[in-house]
Symmetry: C2
Subunit: 209 residues, 2 copies
DNA sequence: GTCTATAAAGTGATAGAC
DNA sequence: GTCTATCACTTTATAGAC
């Protein structure tokens, strides 16, 4: 029953889809291995445990995603006339591209679930492994928005994060129309996200802070 | 082991807390009835099934929440000089108040989970029972933002929804400091949400739409 | 309305043959 | 590296005594 990919990769792909659809608790190893066309015992052989498999599902996509984000940010920071929109684009575009190339469109839904879960160990894993990315972007936002207090900036970045996660996990009311190409739709999505986020970030600071 | 509240109410309260913490699949009836101090069989006696219990957890809070939202919106629509911020406040403040009175602060986390779940039957339940509330608010936004195309407006409302859900479920980086009262913190949260959302909604429409 | 006991099925994980 | 078989346990739900 082996297709082209390795057993390990096929488990990861099937797990990503099932975690997106039914959650980490909701997706059982039996459903998962059946979908991947591999033996039940293969999960424990290759990953050790279900928890470890969950982490590997994140690692596979986030390593690539965050490398691309940091590369894009580096490009932007190099330019003296970089705008807030440029920094937002460096953060957003790589995430939208995920849904294009790797077939990893489901991964953003997995990520949205992880946010909603509040699971401490999972959050610690994400923070430990990818927190430095968020810190670099935050520093750049702070540089471009010096009029905002630290607290006000954190608040707004938090709200931007919410909007992005929501939009990128794709449960918005906006569906791509059949006469719009996938590429065009992704460009429009990026433009909406960047514009909306920039407007919220740039707004004058509140006078009550 | 009976405290003051009825068995039914105590199950609902325990279920809300556990669903927020461990998810709908992750929270078992055994954990739930143990936390409520009631017998395991009481869930099936009072609610028929776990799925039905989930719906009742939503109904208990959303009936009140949406009634307050519509009442607040009615007040706003009555005034000829109502602002976008007023409409946003009518939507946001009742949700923040939930965390104050009923001890229902956990409910917003349950709601955030429901959004991330993509569960069709749950989404249909929410849409069937509370969709009219969102439609009324959308109509008011459209009236106050006539420069936006229907598509652009829907996009922005969707992004606002993401920011609100994220913030109200309380997994932001912003925590209340010990020297800030609960009331003050809620006011600041509301101010941030309203200001940020209004800025994103009011931004000039894109020229590519 | 609340209880115990249990049915029937599902769960993650593992031992051991190949 | 892959398989079967199974362990030890948990799950929802229900039957029937009180």
């Amino acid at each position: 029953m082996n297709s082209s990919a390795s057993t390990k990769e096929r488990i990861l792909t099937a797990a990503e889809a099932l975690f997106a659809q039914r959650g980490f608790e909701g997706a059982s190893l039996r459903q998962l291995t059946a979908a991947a066309g591999v033996n039940l015992a293969a999960v424990n052989y290759h990953f050790g445990s279900k928890d470890n498999l969950v982490e590997e599902v994140f690692r596979r996509r986030l390593d690539q995603l965050n490398a691309r984000r940091l590369a894009a940010l580096k490009q932007v920071v190099g330019q003296p006339d970089a705008t807030l929109e440029d920094v937002l684009a460096a953060f957003i575009r790589p995430a939208l591209d995920l849904s294009h190339d790797g077939g990893g469109s489901l991964f953003m839904r997995v990520l949205a679930r992880a946010f909603a879960e509040h699971d401490d160990s999972l959050r610690k894993f994400l923070s430990d492994n990818y927190g430095h990315v968020m810190r670099q972007f935050t520093a750049e936002f702070a540089r471009l928005l010096p009029q905002l207090s630290k607290e006000e900036l954190y608040w707004r970045i938090d709200l931007v994060t919410g909007a992005l996660t929501h939009a990128m996990s794709g449960f918005g009311i906006i569906q791509r129309k059949s006469d719009v190409s996938e590429t065009t739709h992704r460009e429009q999505t990026a433009a909406h996200l960047i514009r909306f986020s920039a407007a919220g970030l740039k707004d004058a600071p509140g006078d009550w802070a």
